[in-house]
């Protein structure tokens, strides 16, 4: 039996998410009446609708063959990691060092290996970032680790 497992899963996730939203809103916020809607009214309605739509997606995926999608997990991890590194380091190390590190990490998942092109890229992006955000836009951000 062939099933579209991807849609099956996402339909279920969305349905559960809708259910959670509706339940949480119903428990924590006032529903009010049609005449004077409380803060809970809109989220509860939306949660119920999402649950229904998630159900439709799941049910229709049950008896349908799915096309497996290649999942770029390595690229995904690299990009997400470089974002997190930026978020953590930015207030501590300043824009120059953080940019350089972020560029090095994110370019490590590029389809071409090698260090030299990445170092050149790192220098170019760091210079460009500094020129645009510090020099041209004069943004108030730490530039060096000691310039906080």
């Amino acid at each position: 039996m062939q099933r579209d497992y991807q849609d099956l899963l996402w339909g279920a996730i969305l349905a559960l998410f809708g259910l959670a939203v509706a339940a949480y809103a119903a428990a924590h916020y006032e529903i009010g009446s049609l005449r004077r809607m409380g803060p809970g009214f809109f989220p509860v309605v939306l949660g119920v609708i999402l649950t229904a739509l998630g159900g439709v997606i799941t049910v229709s995926a049950w008896s349908r063959a799915g096309v497996p999608q290649p999942f770029a997990w390595r690229e995904g991890m690299g990009v997400i990691l470089s974002l997190v590194v930026f978020a953590v380091l930015m207030p501590r190390l300043g824009i120059v060092a953080t940019t350089a590190l972020t560029t090095l990490i994110s370019s490590s998942v590029a389809p071409r290996a090698g260090v030299s092109w990445r170092l050149v890229l790192c220098a170019a992006v760091t210079l460009l970032t500094w020129a645009v955000f510090v020099l041209a836009l004069d943004m108030t951000i730490p530039v060096w680790p000691w310039s906080r």
Binding site: R35, R36, P39, T99, T103, A110
Partner: protein, 513 residues
């Protein structure tokens, strides 16, 4: 102010040196991101949003709009030369553009797309001016009920008319509406879904959401994909010149494409991508040689390219006159307007004529500029396609981080972008439309406010949506759209099941023997 006075006034705004510079910068940047597969107008506009805090509101809007229509020009270049659409709007152009390039007529195909884009935009401006004035007048009759009903219809239309599964698109719209609820409720002051996080009191940041969905998710998806294509051949200026019979073949498709695009662009919900697909279908249907389509037919480029540019311009009609963005890019544009303290709506034409007419005039100037510059510069754009994506995406990531960080100096927002990006990538992989999510997110608070207001005025009587004629029209259209889509989906499902059953039947007989 009448139309001519308005245009004259608009020209005086758009020709201010600083505004002019930003307009041209936006148009060129738009072409650049349009040419490069892997970064769309959406990502570029989100990247620029934080920067617009630092410049005047006219310059900011004119620049963002320039990116939007500039990308419509650039998108065709990669479509024609690499069979890889630079933007979703130009996906159709691959069908006939790439075969033309293979036949050595890449220059003519590029010229056709440029001249069609230009004609589409210019006629689109005329439609914009005529429709906006008319709609602004009609909109003075709009109350809260009409606004709520119209926005709901817009969302349902966006989810059901476009390509892809309507159930998935609707689910994304609703998910977006839910995300829009996060933060302090305007009416009661209650904090919804903040879980005690002070960073969420103002709700989820629009820039963070858009950058996660369109910046991060697209970068992840394109790192491997975009580097696989070889560089195209060089194009000389002489190759661009079409023959007279080729020129003549463009006129009718351009006119039809513009009209089609102008109409669908102005409808809230449907946008330039849908227009270009519809225009292609129309051209093939009425052509005397439908078999030539897909093998290098000029009408297959001219129609859709005119349609998507015309739609890109008229998409501003509902955004500016009703405050209802028709597509996600317009949603961002609306966000930018609100950041600058301008509330688009029926009063905007009168309250902010400099903004409205300045924008209209800048469309004309920007498009003229794109036509004049892009034809000679085509060699440069083609050589842009030689830049491998691996040189670009690390810079994009840094710009995303700094862009989000600059909005309010919170690293929390960057972490949010990372999370949204990861989810957005997975959703896009399962062909859920992130654009629908963003559209729902932006319209959510507006719908809730108007819904509450309408029901408060009617003392809780939902009949208010039926008794008022304009609201009733929107409600009926919404019901019709939902009904039609359901019937279509059910019958398609049944047909598919019958096919599977038919394919399985002989097998079962084999099993028995």
């Amino acid at each position: 102010m009448n139309t001519l006075e308005g245009l004259a006034h608009g020209l005086s705004v758009a020709l201010q040196p600083s505004v002019l510079v930003y307009s041209l910068f936006g148009a060129l940047l738009g072409t650049f991101v349009g040419v490069l597969p892997g970064i769309g107008a959406m990502a570029a506009i989100t990247l620029l949003l934080p920067i617009t805090y630092y410049i005047s509101s006219e310059a900011a809007l004119v620049m963002l709009a320039g990116v939007y229509y500039g990308a419509q020009y650039g998108g065709a270049v990669a479509s024609i030369l690499l069979r890889l659409p630079g933007t979703p709007q130009s996906a159709v152009t691959t069908l006939d553009g790439y075969p033309m390039a293979q036949q050595g007529r890449a220059g003519v195909a590029l010229f056709t797309s440029m001249i069609s884009s230009f004609s589409g935009s210019m006629l689109g401006i005329v439609i914009l001016v005529l429709l906006a004035g008319w709609l602004a007048e009609v909109a003075t009759m709009f109350g809260a009920a009409e606004y709520a009903a119209m926005m709901i219809m817009g969302l349902v239309a966006a989810a059901t008319v476009g390509a892809g599964s309507p159930a998935k698109s609707l689910a994304m719209v609703v998910a977006g509406l839910i995300l829009g609820c996060v933060g302090t409720d305007v009416n009661s002051g209650a904090q919804r879904f903040t879980f005690g996080q002070t960073q969420l009191l103002d709700g989820i940041n629009l820039v963070a959401l858009a950058m996660g969905l369109f910046g991060v998710a697209e970068v992840i998806a394109n790192i491997r994909k975009a580097d696989r294509h070889g560089p195209p051949d060089r194009i000389s200026l002489r190759q661009l010149v079409p023959q007279r019979h080729e020129l003549r073949k463009m006129i009718a498709p351009i006119t039809r494409g513009t009209t089609l695009g102008g109409f669908f662009g102005a409808l809230p919900g449907t946008g330039s991508t849908i227009s270009s697909f519809l225009s292609y279908a129309l051209e093939r249907r009425i052509s005397r040689h439908p078999e030539r389509f897909g093998k290098g037919e000029i009408a297959g480029i001219a129609g859709p390219e005119a349609a998507n540019n015309s739609a890109a311009i008229t998409a501003f009609v509902p955004t500016l006159t009703l405050g209802i963005p028709g597509d996600p890019i317009m949603a961002l544009m609306l966000g930018a307007l609100v950041i600058h303290g301008i509330q688009p709506g029926p009063m905007m034409l009168e309250a902010r004529p400099d903004m409205f007419w300045g924008l209209v005039a800048s469309f004309g100037i920007g498009n003229l500029f794109l036509l004049i510059l892009n034809l000679p510069l085509i060699g440069i754009w083609v050589s842009m396609l030689r830049i491998p994506f691996r040189w670009l995406y690390p810079a994009i990531i840094v710009f995303i981080c700094l862009g989000v960080y600059s909005v309010r100096g919170a690293t929390f927002d960057i972490a949010m972008v990372a999370g949204i990006g990861a989810i957005g990538y997975l959703l896009a992989l399962a062909s859920f439309s992130p654009a629908m999510l963003l559209l729902g997110f932006v319209l959510g608070p507006l719908i809730e406010t108007n819904l509450r207001r309408a029901l408060l005025i009617s003392r809780g009587d939902p009949m208010v949506f039926i008794e008022r004629p304009i609201a009733c029209l929107f409600v009926m259209a919404t019901v019709a759209l939902v009904g039609f889509t359901t019937i279509k989906a059910v019958s398609r499902n049944r047909a598919a099941r019958r096919q599977i059953a038919a394919a399985a039947a002989p097998q079962q007989e084999d099993d028995r023997t």
